[in-house]
């Protein structure tokens, strides 16, 4: 589905939060690589999807009402067999129903386990005076603890993208700290520019998180994504 039809459908449903699958579909169309996810509504569908994608896979709850998926046990990673997938499906749905009994549950997303990389975050929020503000930083679950992030107003220039990446304290991690694989900084800068362009074209988007993005020595991929409409 196209960006506009996904957004229209959410509006018709009266939803402000797009699901992970919807968010990733939109971002893919905008030229931002994501770990593509498929929706499974039963355990058997999840197993079938996993077989088709290839193991290992990750399963995540898909619900417009649940935004912090890992906090409620809605994420299972590195599943290597059909039995593990089946069990994970049931556990995720049970955990979600327990944590938020009123939540609408669309199902569970199945995606290929992305090869681990350096975890970064990109996102956007709105400032009351200056409109959309783009963010870059070290990502993953520690982002709100470390707060190692940089901001620029949308639209950004290549100079801004370069500075956003250079500005964070954890920059040595991106350069291949102690023999680790370095991050493709150029790919990250390109991603920021594409994101800025995408945000400028879609003022109906209020907030956005790509967290984590796995950065490799050759490219980067958004493993999780969330889009909130205004």
């Amino acid at each position: 589905m196209s960006i506009t039809s996904i957004i229209d459908r959410a509006k018709t449903d009266g939803r402000r939060t797009l699901t992970e699958i919807e968010s990733k579909d939109i971002l893919e169309e905008a030229g931002i690589p994501t770990a593509h996810a498929r929706l499974a509504t039963t355990a058997d569908e999840a197993v079938a999807a996993a077989k088709e994608i290839g193991f290992p896979v990750a399963l995540k709850i898909v619900s417009p009402d649940i935004t912090h998926k890992s906090d409620i046990g809605g994420v299972k990673l590195n599943l290597t067999t059909p039995d593990e997938v089946k069990a994970a499906f049931d556990e995720i749905v049970a955990a979600a129903m327990k944590a938020q009994p009123d939540a609408t549950i669309d199902g569970v997303s199945v995606q290929k386990m992305a090869r681990p990389g350096i975890e970064v975050i990109m996102g956007m929020s709105q400032d009351a005076q200056f409109g959309p503000v783009l963010m870059f930083g070290l990502g993953g679950i520690l982002v709100e603890v470390l707060k190692d992030v940089s901001f620029r107003l949308v639209p950004i220039t290549p100079r801004d993208a370069r500075q956003m990446v250079q500005e964070i304290k954890g920059r040595p991690l991106l350069e291949g700290y102690r023999g680790q694989e370095p991050a493709d900084v150029e790919a990250l800068e390109k991603l920021l520019l594409r994101l800025s362009d995408f945000i400028e074209k879609h003022p109906e988007i209020a907030e956005l998180d790509l967290n984590p993005i796995f950065a490799y020595k050759d490219g980067a991929i958004a493993v999780d994504a969330r889009i909130i409409l205004s």
């Binding site: 996102g123 929020s125 400032d127 503000v133 930083g137 982002v143 709100e144 620029r152 801004d160 967290n211």
Partner: protein, 478 residues
């Protein structure tokens, strides 16, 4: 020229001014502010008790704006709040260029009636195509034309700094402190509550105003943030914009659902904007003036390597600390420089690694030529980008009473050096315990276009910010 710019052009360069509601109890504040105005000045006052005092000032008085037999470019409205909406309506009917509402008691009070009256007045102005400055403001200052916000503001000659301030106090104080340091205003606006015309509008005007070379702003809030960002982005590659931001902008923050939203604070967007636009941020009135001096009176440079001249060992240590603290470098000089310095430098009571501890060489029995030689060495050294010289009038006058005092020959010597050199040159005039003496000495430097500073940290911080700005411009023009 955009519509708003051409309308502001008329208001900020008025040929005729009318003051409405000035009175004895205010000491005829506004009419006296306008006593230096080069165009035609009129008064509007209906109170018969006030009119004789106005006529004594030599100003023609009328019962209403519409009675004045002349076009009016700029009106200062000093009437009580309930009368203000009627005066603004008269301004529209008279087709005046713009009006400043000195009148206060509007939205700044936070009370319902004030907010209502501001909205009413603003919509009258908007519908009538009237430039409304304020309310709750001190209006405009045009130094060349003698239109003033305060009667002690200088007038008659041109300036080169455009100033925009939410606060009238800061607008006036900057014009006075700046003037004492040779920083002259071209046009200044006390913008008040910005009910109609916003900082973005004033910035757009200053950006294209040929008389204005540098722009300063004191901001407490923001209207039209996106437009401000767009105009600023276009302005800074051409003219430096120095911003002193008071308080925190009201974010009007909504509930945030994302990590990104949780991490952004009310100052996030502003800080991002200053980086993107190459804005020079300052934290005080003094720093504003210091940065302006470094922008206006020092040769432009993008290098960070300082050549320093101090008068004693103790000062050599702390001048180095100050520049390094500000992120500038104090490197060793070239071999050629050391060879040249060794021919005349007195190393008893001095040294010349960098800083040049010149006390011994200069001090007792000072030879003007020795300082000139030091400056020439630093000027020729390819490892040095800019030069700062300690001028301690108190110490110099103590050591060198009489005709040969460096206090007398230094300003001319530094001016001659500046003329020849391509590198920025700064003088530090420590007031020490003699504020008045330092201020009197400073005038000699101001007259010769040498930027002076009251301390090492002040010049180091100001110059570091200006270098950052020059590098931003260089990067933008690539």
């Amino acid at each position: 020229m955009s519509d708003i710019v051409s309308r502001l052009e008329r208001v900020l360069n008025p040929r005729s001014v009318a003051v409405v509601g000035d009175k004895r109890a205010m000491g005829y504040f506004w009419l006296r502010n306008m006593s230096t105005f080069k165009g035609k000045l009129y008064s509007v006052q209906i109170d018969p008790n006030e009119i004789p005092g106005i006529l004594e000032l030599g100003v023609s008085n009328y019962a209403g704006l519409l009675d004045i037999p002349d076009e009016i470019d700029y009106v200062v409205c000093a009437v009580p709040r309930p009368v203000a909406p009627r005066i603004v309506a008269d301004c529209v009917a008279k087709k005046v260029g713009g009006v400043s509402l000195f009148t206060s008691g509007f939205a700044e009070t936070g009370e319902e009636e004030g907010i209502r009256l501001q909205e009413q007045t603003a919509s009258t102005a908007r519908e009538g195509g009237l430039i409304l400055i304020g309310p709750n403001c001190m209006g405009i200052y045009n130094r060349r034309l003698g239109v003033r916000q305060a009667m002690d503001q200088p007038s008659g000659d041109e300036g080169d700094v455009g100033f925009i301030a939410h606060s009238g106090t800061h607008a006036i104080n900057f014009s006075l402190l700046g003037a004492a340091h040779g920083v002259k205003i071209s046009k200044s606006v006390s913008a008040g509550n910005c009910a109609v015309v916003t900082p973005a509008d004033y910035l757009e005007y200053m950006a294209q105003d040929a008389e204005t070379k540098v722009i300063g702003m004191y901001l407490e809030g923001m209207q039209e943030g996106r437009r401000f960002f767009d105009i600023l982005k276009r302005t800074t590659p051409l003219k430096p914009v120095v911003v002193w931001k008071g308080g925190a902008f009201e974010g009007g923050r909504r509930a945030m659902f994302s990590h990104t939203g949780a991490l952004a604070t009310s100052s996030t967007a502003w800080q991002a904007l200053t980086k993107q636009c190459g804005v020079i941020s300052v934290d005080s009135l003094d720093e504003m003036v210091d940065v302006m001096k470094a922008l206006l009176f020092a040769k432009p440079a993008t290098g960070r390597r300082m050549g320093l001249v101090a008068l004693t060992g103790g000062q050599s240590v702390v001048i180095t600390d100050a520049f390094e603290r500000a992120g500038l470098d104090v490197p060793l000089l070239s071999d050629r420089s050391y060879a040249e310095l060794s021919t005349f430098f007195d190393v008893i009571g001095g040294s010349y690694r960098n800083p040049l501890d010149a006390g011994g060489t200069l001090g007792f029995g000072a030879v003007p030529e020795n300082l000139a030689r030091m400056l020439r060495v630093l000027d020729a050294d390819e490892r040095i980008d800019a030069v700062a010289v300690e001028v301690s009038p108190r110490m110099m006058s103590r050591r060198m009473p009489g005709a040969q005092s460096p206090v007398d020959w230094l300003p001319d010597m530094l001016a001659a050096h500046k003329e020849r050199s391509t590198k920025p040159l700064f003088a530090i005039l420590h007031p020490m315990d003699l504020e008045a003496f330092a201020a009197q000495e400073r005038q000699k430097y101001v007259e010769r276009g040498i930027p002076t500073f009251s301390g090492f940290d002040q010049v180091a911080r100001a110059f570091a910010k200006v270098v950052e700005y020059r590098r931003f411009v260089a990067e933008m023009s690539q």
